[in-house]
């Protein structure tokens, strides 16, 4: 059966050049980057090259502002817990948004349990954080603003440059989760006045289980990992050199080809969007329609349930994700979809399509073709659809 992968935001397949770099590192650079001997230092050299590549790509002032971690989740946790613990003398208030990734939200909830206060900013219907809301939420004791660069479900890009400017002016640290943004939009930590930024390799065709955090020089932050003296004594643990080398290679490819990748994502996404809009009734597009990630299309289909839709598409070999789950007790939209305030007929029928480098026009044609029959089938069983036609 044909297989169409449209879930690149969940994870991307490793790029073949990246895989080659990882394989080579596994063989040739197996040393412990902390060892003083030649083999250890050889591995360290490769790791530092990757650090340099990534630092340059995000326009960090120094390579040493990039710290390798196990991925986006660790970076987010480190930023929130590490800053909260290091700055609690100044205050115990954190500002975030209602639509952050769970790695941010659950870390914030944990800090609430530890006695911190967190403000969860609501978002507009298009998923954007409103600057006025942010300004109104800032207090004397606010120590951290953490707002994602772009949302993983609905693709909306947040005004992080404006947020960075406000935070800097008020002397508040600014962290952004740029896990989805990396490779899809420009990220310049200096121009955007970012103090901390989370990124992850597997979303940019790199290996899984490796990521990084940018920490502006001079930022006081507590460690999450205690142990050896790795990563300038800030993140203990033997370095995942092959993973880091792969991450470096993946970012090097971004540097070389980002415009080409983005053009391809945009073309495929727009083609999918146009066909869905023209050929299916009663659908709405979620997220901001201009300020959005180029590879993301989030659609709500009225009168059908997301999990049933996902499973039906999966039976046709099409892999997508949904912002709806029917779990213990009831049908529940994701926190992101919930925050948008959709009409109830659309609330549970949300699908995220994310295209990637391997996506072809044939994939999209096949998807739309099957999507039409799947939607028609599910609507034919839906009492909501029937009622809407009768009234």
């Amino acid at each position: 059966m044909k297989e169409v992968y449209l879930d690149y935001a969940a994870t991307a397949p490793i790029d073949l050049d990246v895989k080659q770099a990882v394989d080579e590192a596994n063989e040739k650079y197996f040393g412990n980057a902390s060892s003083l001997h030649t083999i250890g230092q050889r591995a360290k050299g490769q790791m530092e090259q990757a650090r340099e590549t990534i630092a340059r790509y995000i326009n960090a002032a120094e390579a040493n502002e990039v710290y390798f971690t196990s991925g986006g989740t660790e970076s987010d946790n480190w930023a929130i817990k590490g800053i909260a613990l290091a700055q609690m003398e100044k205050g115990k208030h954190i500002i975030t948004s209602a639509i952050e990734h769970h790695a941010v939200l659950h870390a914030c909830e944990f800090m609430e349990k530890m006695g911190f206060e967190v403000t969860y900013l609501p978002v507009a219907r298009d998923g954007s954080v409103r600057i006025a809301d942010l300004k109104a939420a800032i207090r004397e004791d606010t120590i951290l603003i953490t707002i994602m660069a772009a949302n993983n479900e609905i693709g909306t890009i947040q005004p992080i440059k404006e947020i960075g400017e406000i935070a800097r002016k008020r002397g508040i640290l600014f962290h952004t989760d740029a896990v989805q943004a990396l490779g899809s939009m420009p990220l310049d930590v200096q121009a955007m006045q970012i103090d901390l930024m989370s990124i992850s390799a597997h979303k940019v065709y790199g290996p899984k289980g490796v990521g990084a955090m940018y920490i502006k020089k001079g930022t006081e932050i507590e460690n999450l990992m205690h142990g050896g003296a790795h990563e300038l004594r800030r993140r203990a643990g033997t370095n995942n050199v092959p993973g880091i080398v792969g991450f470096g290679k993946a970012v090097e490819l971004l540097k070389q080809n980002e415009a080409v990748y983005v053009a391809h994502y945009t073309q495929m996404r727009d083609y999918l969007r146009d066909r869905i809009e023209n050929e299916l009734d009663e659908v709405i597009l979620n997220g901001h329609q201009e300020k959005r990630l180029p590879n993301n299309l989030n659609v709500s289909f009225a009168y059908v349930e997301g999990e049933a839709l996902l499973l039906s598409l999966d039976m046709e070999g099409i892999c997508v994700s949904t912002g709806s789950a029917c779990s213990s007790g009831s049908l529940k939209p994701s926190h992101v979809i919930e925050a948008l305030g959709l009409d109830e007929n659309y609330l549970h029928g949300t699908v995220r399509f994310t295209v990637g480098r391997q996506t072809t026009k044939e994939d999209i044609d096949y998807t739309v073709d099957r999507l039409k029959s799947v939607i028609a089938r599910l609507r034919s069983m839906s009492p909501l659809y029937k009622d809407s036609k009768n009234s």
């Binding site: 499973l311 029917c326 213990s328 007929n345 009492p383 909501l384 029937k386």
Partner: protein, 123 residues
């Protein structure tokens, strides 16, 4: 998703989908705001369920449960139908994941609502 072969079968090709025009018992449970919604249509003659159909908005478990329940209902007496429990539907489906039990409960409730409607009409 952790679904049995049987759930997938019934989800892929559910039995007894649609509105039963000649139904003399009708039950409806759920709301779009809180989630799943099911309509149950029964045609009862001489105390026996002759025909059963459903319309369901919901996940695969809800659709498969509706399909199996309508299969089970056909030929049952009213008393048997009243005693139909979601456990029986689950058993027929070869099990449901823990988080999906509530979807079969909804179907049980729809059957009960239809039988109550039938009794109300007899008065």
């Amino acid at each position: 998703m952790d679904y049995s072969e049987k759930v997938i079968q019934h989800f892929r090709e559910p039995h007894n989908v649609g509105v039963l025009e000649e139904a003399n018992a009708f039950g409806k449970v759920g709301s779009p705001a809180c989630g799943d919604k099911t309509e149950m249509y029964l045609k009862i003659e001489d105390g026996i369920i002759k025909e059963a159909k459903f319309m369901t908005f919901g996940c695969a478990a809800a659709i498969a449960s509706s399909s199996v329940a309508t299969d089970l209902l056909k030929g049952m007496t009213i008393e048997e139908a009243k005693a139909l429990k979601n456990e029986q539907v689950i058993k027929e489906l070869g099990g449901l994941p823990e988080a999906k039990i509530h979807c079969s409960v909804m179907v049980e409730e729809a059957v009960r609502a239809a039988l109550e409607d039938y009794e109300a009409r007899q008065k």
